[in-house]
Amino acid sequence: MPLISEKELKASYDVIIVGSGAGGGQSAYTLTMNGVKVLLLEAGRNYDPLTETAMFQTPSAAPLRGISLEDKPFGFYDATVDGGWQVPDEPYTNASTEAENKFWWWRARMLGGRTNHWGRISLRNGPYDFKPYSRDGLGVDWPMSYQDVAPYYDKVEMLIGVYGSNEGLENTPDSSEGCLLPPPKARAGELYIKKHVAKLGIPVIPIHRAILSVKQDADNIPAKLHPGNPRAQGILAEAMRQRAACFWATDCGRGCSIKANYQSTTVHLPPAMATGNLDILPNAMARAVTLDAQGKANGVSFIDKVTGREITAKARVVILAASSAESARILLNSKSAKFPDGLANSSGEVGKNIMDTVGASLGGQVPAFENLPVHNEDGAGDHVYVPWWLYKEQKAGKLDFARGYHIEFATGRRMPNVGVAGPAKPGYGKAFKEDLRRTYGSFIGFSGRGEMIPNKDSFCDLDPSVKDKWGIPVLRFHWKFSEHELKQALHMHQTFARMIEAIGGKVGGKPATDGAKAIKPGGFIIHEVGGAIMGADRKRSVTNQWNQCWDVPNLLINDGAPFCSNADKNPTLTIMALAWRACDHLIEEMRQGNL
C-alpha cells in the first residue's frame, strides 16, 4: 500500500485515528467511505500480506523448524511483526511478582495490528451479554442492547465475510438472512466428537470465522452496506472482487495472501485507500492527544520512529484504536492542567475494569482416530465449536460460577510439527515409524474460552518510573481473577475430561482439582478489553454508547476499551460492530456541526 511519510502530512484532517487493527481499520473504512478525510497513525511498520505471507512453506524451510521462540512466540511463520509478549523498546510492568497476579500483554507493531494473525473466530455477543448486571447482579450493564448493535453485526459480517450457520440457540444470535457464508463441513474427528458428546447434552455446531468459504456477493452486498452512496458501492464491489475464496490449505495465523480471510490490511484498508480520503503514516507512535484552549481534542502528538522526532498532527476529531490497554495508556499520558489524572478521566475509570477471557485446556488421545484412512483434513482452522449450553442451569443457580464459556477444539491430521515424536513408545526403526503413523492425527485438545467479570483488582495505571525508548511512561498491570473465573476454569477441566472419556479417549495428564491450576494467566488468551468502559452515567464511565468520551466529545475510543463486559464470545467482531456504529454517529454529529 502506498503510505505517506511524515513530510507529506497535511496541515489538518477531519479525523486522526491511532492504530490500524480491527478498531482502527473499521473506523478508517466507515469514515473514508463517507467522504471524511482521515489520517491513520500506526506505530508499526508497513506490512503487505500479499507479498510477505509464507503461505505454503513447510517447517523444514524455517529456522529450527519454525518452533515458538521468544522473538517469534507463535512460531516462525506466524504473521506477527515486532510483537509478542514483549515488544522491542516498549516494556510494560506488573505490580506483583506473583504469577497469578501478572498480566501478559500481547502486542504487534505492524500495519493491521493483530488482525494479521488473529484466530478469525467471530461470534456475536447475545442479548444477555449486553445486560449482565440485570441478569445476575454482577459486573456492569452496557448502555445499549443487542437490538441496537445487531444491525452493525450484520454489516460487519457482510463486509468482512464470515462463515457460520444460524442455529437458533439461546443467547447465541442468528444473523440476518444473507449475512453468513456457508460453513465448511466438519472433519472426521469433529463429527465423531459431536456424536459422542451429544449424550452429555453438549451441542457441537458450526463455528463462525472471518473466512470466505465462497466468494462474496460483490453485486449485491455493496448496495446493502452503503445505500445511496454509489461511489462507496463501486469501491467496495471492486475490493470484494479482489478477494479470492479460501482454498482450504494454509494456516490462517500466517495471514492470507489471497485475501480470503479478514485482516485489516486486506479488507478494511484497501477500499479505504481507494477513496483517496486516507493518509496512513506508519512508524508513528502516538504519545498523547493534544487539546485546544477549550479542552477539546485538536490533534495527536506522536514520535516519528524513523527520525525519533516528536510531531503533532491536527484534526477536528481524534479516535483512539491502539488496542484497549494502549488506548488507556495514551489517555493516562495525555495529562494537562484541565485533566491532571489523564484525559477523559473525570470518572477515575480510565485503566479500570480490564478483562481477558478465561482460558483452560485439556488434551487427550483417541484410539478410534488411529489409522484413520489417509485424507486431506486441512480445511481452515476450527470448523465447529461448542457454544455455552448451560444458561438455564446457571440461571437456576445450579452452577457455582456466574458466566459461561464456549469450547474450541482441535482434531485432525494437521501439518506435522517438530513435536511429532513426543508421545511415541521407546524404540527406533520400522516399529517407531509405525507407531508414529498409527497415532498421527489421533490427538485432540479442548480449550475453554469463558467470560471474566470485571473486578476492582484488575486494572492498569502508569508505572511511576519505567519509560519506553521514547521516554513515554509505560503501563503497569494489576491482576486478579475472582472465584467465578477460577471455578469456571475448573468446570472446563472437568467437562473436558468427561468429553474425552465419552469419545473413548485417554486424558493427557490429570484434570485439575483446583481452578487456580487450570486457569491460564491473565492476558494469555489475548482478548483483553475494558480500561475505558462506556455507560449511561458519566460519573461511572469514560464514554457514552457511541465510544465518545464524556469529558471530550470529539475524542472516541474505537477498540475494546469501552467494553462493559467480556462475554465468552471472542471480542473482535464486537469491536468492529461498535466502531462502525460509533463512526456512523460521529458522521451525523459532524454533519450537524455538533463537533
Binding site: Q57, P63, R414, V418, G422, P423, G427, T439
Partner: protein, 217 residues
C-alpha cells in the same frame, strides 16, 4: 516479566494444544523437557529477531554457525538413518539434511534448543567411542546390526544397564529431534499420512472410508 518458565506457556495456543495433545498419551514428555532444562549453555550467534523475512527457504548454518565436528555430524547422520530407516525408494533422513537440522538446533542462540547441546554432543562422542571399543571403527562405518547393538543398549526399550543409563536421555532427545526434523519435510509428512498443504476449490470433509472407520457412515 519474561513469561514463566513453563514451556507450554511460551507456545502459541494452537501449538500448545498440539503439545498438550502430544503429552496426552501419558508419556513423560514434560518430565523430559524439565530434565533437559537443567543445562544452561552459553549462547552463540544472533537470534532470529522479531521481523525476519518469512517467505524464503532457510538452510541450517545460514543464521548461526553449526557446532558439530565433522565426526559428530557423521555419527548424527548415521543415527538419524538408523532411527528412521527409509521406505522403498525414499530418501534417508541424512539425505534430507535431518542431521543438519539437529546441528542447527543444538548450535542455536536460544537456550530453549541449545540446552540439548551438551547432551547431544556428548552422546555423539559416546557413539564413536562405543563403536571403537566394540568394533574398532566409528559409528557411521558400522553395519546395521552393529549400530543396532549400540542403539539397543541406550534406546530405553528395555531398561539400560547402569553403564549405559546416562545415554538414554541422549537417545531420547536425539530421536525426538530426528523425527521432528524428518516428519516436517515434505517426504516425511507424506509418510506420516499428511496430505494437505495443497489448494483445493472445495473442502469436501472426510472420505467415506474415514467415516466408515469411525462408525459414522
Amino acid at each position: 516479566m519474561t513469561p514463566s518458565e513453563n514451556p507450554v506457556r511460551q507456545m502459541p495456543r494452537r501449538i500448545a494444544l498440539k503439545w498438550l495433545a502430544a503429552a496426552a498419551a501419558g508419556m513423560a514428555l514434560a518430565g523430559r523437557l524439565d530434565l533437559a532444562m537443567a543445562q544452561v549453555p552459553t549462547k552463540s550467534g544472533k537470534p532470529i529477531g522479531t521481523d525476519p523475512v518469512l517467505n524464503k527457504d532457510y538452510k541450517p548454518g545460514e543464521l548461526w554457525p553449526l557446532l558439530m565436528s565433522p565426526a559428530q555430524r557423521r555419527a548424527a547422520a548415521a543415527l538419524a538413518d538408523l532411527i528412521i530407516p527409509p521406505e522403498e525408494g525414499g530418501l534417508k533422513p541424512s539425505q534430507l539434511a535431518v542431521h543438519e537440522f539437529i546441528d542447527e538446533w543444538i548450535s542455536s542462540p536460544y537456550d530453549q534448543t541449545a540446552k540439548d547441546r551438551p547432551v547431544i554432543l556428548a552422546g555423539l562422542d559416546f557413539l564413536d567411542a562405543e563403536a571403537q571399543q566394540r568394533h574398532q571403527a566409528v559409528f557411521a562405518e558400522l553395519n546395521a546390526a552393529q549400530q543396532g547393538g549400540i542403539a539397543d543398549a541406550i534406546c530405553g526399550a528395555t531398561p539400560a544397564t547402569p553403564a549405559y543409563r546416562p545415554q538414554v536421555r541422549f537417545f531420547d532427545r536425539f530421536r525426538h529431534l530426528a523425527a521432528g526434523g524428518y516428519y516436517t519435510t515434505p517426504q516425511g509428512m507424506l509418510e506420516l499420512g499428511y496430505v494437505g498443504n495443497r489448494p483445493t476449490a472445495t473442502f469436501d470433509g472426510p472420505t467415506p472410508e474415514a467415516l466408515k472407520h469411525l462408525g459414522l457412515a
